[in-house]
């Protein structure tokens, strides 16, 4: 069998639920978790004679998104009816946008793990983003052989964000989805809650021999609501398509579902019975006109975007692209880091970054806390970083102090250093005295070192640090020890 080198081609369609108070075309509440149908008004359940009226808040969020990705916000866009029959869609059509969407183009820059511990940058172009309404929910548990319909979700505003088919691995697709997820929360248009379905991905996957310019036939994996499922589903689907083609088969266009239990994708409907949506402009809604003044006003209210902030962290703070991207993963993390740098000084930015991404992130993760509720404040962390910078404490002691701050054993790093006598020993005489003691007690290591065993040196450094209860300045210990051993 000839071995072809296959390339995977992925495009994503992401449905983000906009965090408006009311629905896109009615004044019913969008709050999650209400009693079934308690938030389904006459418009949402499609009683005869009702008319949709567009929610300004939903449009404004679409504008915000368009500006955030550098896209064109359409001065005029049109709502269309997407026709299909399903009981959780009581009108018999979904109001969406088709030919003229509200957002056109734009791009997102992401950091993709390279599988070797590093990262590379990738720019993904977006095709469009359009406003539409969500459908209700069908409950298939047994109601005497019938299906239960809850229309609370019907009419919830969605922004469907469509990428170009530019991703070439499941890792790139996940990095894109994560970057998009971070962005919609950053600009506060979506709460990003994936369990509640606020952020759902459909993945279009095809394969082709590397070097081929045309695309293979794609299959669309529907409704992936976690990054892990997105990765698993794409990996399984791509492998399935490759094996099918290598066995002499051809991929048929289809919509498939991912089963998290088996880790497999299976066809839901083939192209033959694919929906024929018969889109046409909705006569109930006039064209949506967005003038330049409105766009300018929204632009004026936008927060500094993660891309711009990340560039600033690199140019002004001297951080690496990866560190800058990590610290701009959410507004809360970026703000914590900025507060720490403001207190510790830009000269200590890199040390602040290391602590926020390292010790703090690990500790928060372990305690399952958000940075917003961190027991160690940005000011406290900055105080700690300042004492590392001026050589009052070593890194090892700093970790102890961090732990003490976390456990509320003191108000500040300074207070803990004072109370626990953790000030670093930098007095040459005192360190020499410690070294002399250690050398006298560890003749074996001294002999080994002199016999050319480098490891013995590290053991002696360790003994000196231990004898000083971690307080000796490690650099000085190294230097003086080397001198003494001649």
């Amino acid at each position: 069998m000839s071995r072809t080198d296959w390339e995977v081609v992925i495009g994503l369609e992401v449905h983000t639920q906009l965090n408006t108070r009311s629905k896109i075309f009615s004044g019913a509440s969008t709050a999650f978790g209400a009693e079934p149908n308690a938030q389904a008004c006459a418009v949402d359940i499609a009683l005869p004679g009702v008319l949709p009226v567009l929610n300004r808040g939903a449009v404004e969020r679409a504008i915000r998104f368009g500006l955030a990705i550098g896209a064109a916000v359409a001065p005029k866009s049109v709502f269309a009816r997407k026709n299909y029959f399903y009981p959780d869609l009581p009108k018999g059509y979904q109001i969406s946008q088709y030919e003229l969407p509200v957002v056109v183009g734009g791009q997102i820059t992401l950091m993709v793990p390279d599988g070797k511990g590093g990262h590379y940058e990738k720019v993904v172009n977006l095709t469009r983003a359009h406003l539409e309404e969500d459908a209700g929910k069908s409950l298939h548990e047994d109601f005497h052989g019938m299906t239960g319909i809850d229309l609370n979700r019907a009419g919830t505003p969605l922004l469907e964000i469509v990428s170009e088919p530019e991703m070439r691995s499941s890792s790139e697709a996940v990095a894109y989805a994560k970057a998009l997820h971070a962005l919609v929360r950053w600009i506060d248009i979506c709460d990003g809650n994936m369990q509640e379905g606020s952020f759902r991905c459909d993945a279009n996957v095809s394969v082709r021999p590397r070097g081929q310019t045309g695309f293979g036939t794609r299959r669309e994996i529907k409704n992936l609501n976690s990054f892990r499922f997105l990765q698993q589903a794409i990996d399984y689907e791509a492998q399935w398509q490759i094996e099918l083609i290598e066995d002499g088969g051809t991929v048929q266009q289809a919509t498939v579902l991912f089963d998290p239990d088996s880790g497999e994708t299976r066809a839901m409907r083939s192209k033959e019975d694919a929906h024929d949506y018969r889109y046409f402009p909705d006569p109930d809604l006039l064209p949506l006109v967005i003038d330049a003044d409105w766009i300018a006003r929204v632009k004026g209210e936008m927060p500094e975007l993660p891309g711009a902030l990340s560039a600033r962290f690199q140019s002004e703070h001297g951080l690496s692209a990866y560190d800058a991207a990590t610290l701009t993963a959410s507004r809360e993390v970026a703000q914590f880091y900025l507060d720490a740098v403001a207190a510790a000084g830009v000269a200590n930015a890199k040390t602040c970054a290391n602590w926020v991404m390292g010790e703090l992130a690990a500790r928060l993760n372990k305690a399952e806390l958000d940075i917003g509720t961190s027991p160690v404040s940005a000011a406290q962390l900055a105080g700690l970083v300042a004492r590392i910078a001026d050589n009052t404490i070593s890194n090892a002691i700093a970790k102890k102090i961090f732990e003490a701050l976390w456990n509320k054993e003191g108000e500040s790093a300074d207070a803990i250093i004072e109370a626990q006598g953790l000030k670093q020993v930098t007095d040459t005489g005192a360190i020499e005295a410690i070294i002399d003691e250690v050398l006298a007690a560890n003749q074996k290591s001294v002999d080994e070192y002199r016999a050319g065993k480098e490891k013995a040196f590290n053991a002696l450094v360790g003994q000196c640090m231990k004898a000083s209860r971690g307080k000796a300045n490690p650099a000085q210990v190294n230097e003086l020890l080397k001198k003494k051993l001649g």
Partner: protein, 95 residues
């Protein structure tokens, strides 16, 4: 342009309309009559005219994002054929 009998049956199926024997042919001729009208209109020269999605040259009015509807589930469900536990019940659907 004219529709074949199969296309008429397909459209009826999409619209969930049942066509009895003979009705398909009658519908076909009615629909093709409409296509005739469209063809006449398409003969008009529309060069330089921007396509309209709505007959009125107006922009969509917007409402403020505020909850203005209260829970009227009981009123609405009074006219529903079957409900249970706050849900509307419909014949079983499994995709």
């Amino acid at each position: 342009m004219s529709l074949s009998l199969d296309e008429v049956r397909h459209i009826a199926k999409l619209a969930r309309i049942e066509l009895a024997d003979g009705e398909a042919e009658a519908t076909q001729s009615k629909l093709n009559g409409i296509f005739g009208l469209i063809e006449e209109m398409q003969a008009v020269n529309t060069d330089g005219v921007e396509p309209m999605s709505h007959p009125q040259e107006l922009a969509q009015r917007l409402r403020e994002d505020a909850v203005t509807e209260s829970n009227r589930r009981n009123t609405f469900q009074n006219v529903a054929p079957q409900t249970e536990a706050g849900l509307y019940l419909v014949p079983k659907v499994i995709e």
